[in-house]
């Protein structure tokens, strides 16, 4: 099962390596990991996407809670939540491909944020499958480069992760 785990962690040097080290040391899966400071500069928020049986996910949350710098851990996927990922795609956009690329980007509500004679950079946000679908929809041979942030997640409504 795929789980999205959110962590509030003290914004100290080495905090990321404590979390990533835990995952590798205990042979837990990481599909993606994002981290950045929060509005409170002393805290960082991480979103980790992992897969595993219920037992494994239970161990992951327990082991994360055990890290001294970790303030809070929540399994977002336990209840209603939103997940988003940002992707930047650089594509070849020349001749007849130029118009077609713009059209597909519009359909996916992507934005073209860099333009040259022969290339576009398209910015796209959504859940992982939407981003995958976009890459499927365009001509593969035109893709020059892609970069994805990994998933960020937040609970819906009253579900709030805060100190």
């Amino acid at each position: 099962m795929r789980h999205i785990i959110s962590i509030l962690i003290e914004n100290e040097a080495g905090a990321l390596s404590r979390v990533s080290g835990l995952f590798s040391a205990r042979a837990f899966n990481i599909e993606s990991l994002t981290v950045a400071p929060t509005e409170d500069a002393s805290l960082s928020r991480m979103t980790i996407v992992s897969t595993g049986s219920d037992d494994v996910i239970e161990q992951i949350t327990k082991q994360l809670n055990k890290l001294i710098d970790v303030v809070k851990v929540v399994d977002l996927s336990e209840a209603a939540h939103i997940e988003r990922e940002l992707m930047l795609v650089k594509v070849r956009a020349a001749g007849k491909d130029r118009e077609e690329m713009k059209r597909i980007a519009d359909i996916f509500r992507g934005r073209i944020i860099d333009v040259t004679d022969s290339t576009y950079v398209i910015e796209l946000t959504g859940n992982g499958s939407k981003l995958d679908a976009f890459l499927e929809a365009i001509d593969r041979s035109l893709i020059l480069e892609t970069v994805r942030t990994g998933v960020s997640g937040i609970g819906r409504g009253d579900r709030i992760l805060k100190v």
Binding site: A13, G14, S17, G21, E58, K62, Q63, N65, K66, I68
Partner: protein, 569 residues
């Protein structure tokens, strides 16, 4: 008052009422050692290798419940210490390690004696810190001591760059500490404890399984009280020995890979199991799938939530500090109208006595060759069961655990989790510093003892009257045993050739050496060592049977009740 970082380190250690620092100086810690030189509130124990400093501090802690402290320099000082730190971490021993680091401006420059200490030690400490500002030093050390001893204990490392130790700031040692990210649970959940009481009283074939947590949290007396109230059988893990008196009739012996027949059979066949400060590890329950084949209700008390339902599914988890949880359990039990099912219990004890009748620890001592088990039994008699016993790792460790009957906690000091050869002698040193009048014996083998043999020099400097019981079978015994049993008698690299003359070696350090070759000489030699040479370090080199194996044995991957017994061979 303005103090330098080095002075602050010393003051913090004094505030923490540290008695001994085990360490080894070097470039990055010179300012600290300079301040250490100028004070006399605590003593420094100079070891001969940093690994031994950590082991000694570790045993100091294990044998006293005070926090062991050690100090090493940057680079090789730290890397040498890593085995010791990992050893303490696996057995949840509270410790503080202070390491020097190259000056702040040099970090990351591949400076002389630089290593990424925080990175290298991260997986084998409870927590670690790199101090980057002298103003953070006192609070960081306070946190280190607090984290080390609270919750599930463990080693905490504080890495201090050299320039920080020479900078000044205002010193104030915080009296208390609060961390928003670290709040270990103390009291157990009342509802869960109620459920546990109910389950215990309904048991037909109950079993109490107690581990190292009982020792670490000083809960032995409460465990005994609980067991006596219920009249249920008790087993200890290797780490839990001494947590319940081994001479008590309710005690079934140690369980696990080399546990007694009765302990393993009762563990496998019980219908209600209460795990007290134990973690169902692979050397204890064998194959978890086989263990789960028999259905039983499990109550698990542990301070670390991640230890619960990690290897075995648990019915009633109770997270909390053992003494607090056991107090509440006892209270509810005594207030309860229910009592244990006497008839079922009598039948269960009858079954256990049948298992006991197998006498799974019996062995034959002939007239010619010394059996290692015999040496441990005689050591038990000669010391009246009152000694602190340290061991190294291997066959001798298992024989020590099986044949020395520990009645009190903190008397059995060994590396259970990591299984580190070479701990025995430095452990004995640490025990003796924590218990200056105690009788201390190190049960070891000719291979393990050579892994920290240089500490004979430290023992001489501090006149530590340790008795080294060297069970010398000229083999890496446990390796040889596995090769015999599972690798077709191919003894790859397990014969220990070119041994030193241990008697002369001991004498060259100014200690007493004895060589014992015949069974009839075992007891007289031990008596001589513990009376005539009471105040000397005595290296007793016992030439023992080369083919003796440790039994019973649950082979790796097998189930608990699938033991190989000595008589079956």
């Amino acid at each position: 008052m303005q103090l330098t970082g080095a002075e602050i380190v010393i003051r913090c250690l004094q505030e923490e009422k540290v008695e001994y620092v085990f360490g080894y100086p070097g470039g990055s810690v010179l300012y600290i050692y300079d301040e250490l030189f100028k004070q006399d509130k605590f003593k420094h124990v100079l070891v001969r290798h940093e690994q031994a400093a950590v082991h000694a501090a570790d045993a100091y802690s294990r044998s006293s419940n005070k926090i062991g402290v050690c100090m090493v320099t940057s680079g090789p000082g730290v890397t040498n210490a890593v085995t010791g730190i990992a050893t303490a971490h696996m057995d949840s021993v509270p410790m503080v390690i202070i390491s020097g680091q190259v000056p702040t401006a040099y970090i990351g420059q591949d400076a002389f004696q630089e290593c990424d200490t925080v990175g290298i030690t991260r997986p084998c400490v409870k927590h670690n810190f790199l101090v980057k500002d002298v103003r953070d030093l006192a609070i960081t050390l306070k946190k280190a001591f607090y984290i080390a001893k609270t919750g599930r204990p463990g080693p905490v490392l504080v890495d201090i760059p050299k320039d920080i130790t020479n900078q000044k700031c205002e010193f104030e040692y915080p009296k208390t500490i609060a961390m928003r990210s670290y709040n270990p649970v103390v009291k157990g959940h009342s509802g869960q404890i109620k459920k546990a009481v109910q389950m215990l009283l309904e048991a037909k074939r109950p079993m109490i399984y107690a581990g190292g947590g009982v020792i670490l949290s000083d809960a032995a007396e409460r465990l005994v009280k609980l067991a006596r109230t219920l009249g249920y059988p008790v087993t200890n893990t290797l780490m839990g020995l001494g947590g319940y008196p081994a001479t008590d009739k309710q005690w079934l012996g140690m369980l696990g890979m080399h546990g007694t027949y009765e302990a393993n059979m009762a563990m496998q066949n019980c219908d209600v199991l209460i795990a007290v400060g134990a973690r169902f590890d692979d050397r204890v329950i064998g194959n978890p799938a086989h263990f789960a084949e028999v259905s039983r209700k499990i109550i698990h008390i542990d301070i670390d939530p991640s230890s619960i339902s990690k290897r075995v599914k648990v019915d009633v988890p109770i997270v909390g500090n053992l003494p607090d949880v056991l107090d509440e359990l006892q209270k509810l039990l005594e207030a309860s109208a229910g009592v244990p099912d006497a008839k079922a219990l009598a039948a269960w004890w009858k079954q256990i006595d049948e298992w006991r009748a197998k006498k799974s620890l019996k062995y034959k001592q002939g007239k010619e060759i010394i059996m290692p088990q015999y040496v441990v039994e005689k050591l038990y008699e000669v010391t009246g069961g009152e000694a602190f016993i340290t061991s190294d790792v291997g066959q001798h460790q298992m024989w020590a655990a099986q044949y020395y009957k520990f009645d009190k906690p903190r008397r059995w000091i060994n590396s259970g989790g990591l299984g580190t050869m070479g701990v025995g002698l430095p452990y004995a040193m640490g025990v003796r510093f924590a218990n200056p009048k105690a009788t201390v014996a190190c049960i070891t083998g000719e291979a393990s003892i050579q892994m920290n043999i240089q500490e004979l020099s430290t023992a001489k400097q501090f006149r530590l009257p340790i008795k080294i019981i060297n069970l010398n079978n000229r083999y890496l015994g446990m390796v040889r045993q596995w090769q015999q049993m599972f690798h077709g008698n191919r003894y790859a690299e397990s014969y220990v050739d070119a041994l030193p003359d241990f008697v002369k070696l001991a004498e060259s350090y100014g200690h007493v050496g004895m060589k014992i070759e015949r069974p009839a000489d075992v007891e007289p030699a031990l008596r001589e060592a513990f009376t005539k040479h009471k105040n000397d370090l005595v290296f007793m080199d016992f030439l023992t049977d080369q083919t003796a194996n440790v039994y019973p044995m649950v082979a790796a991957g097998k189930g608990l009740s699938e033991m190989i017994l000595a008589e079956e061979l």
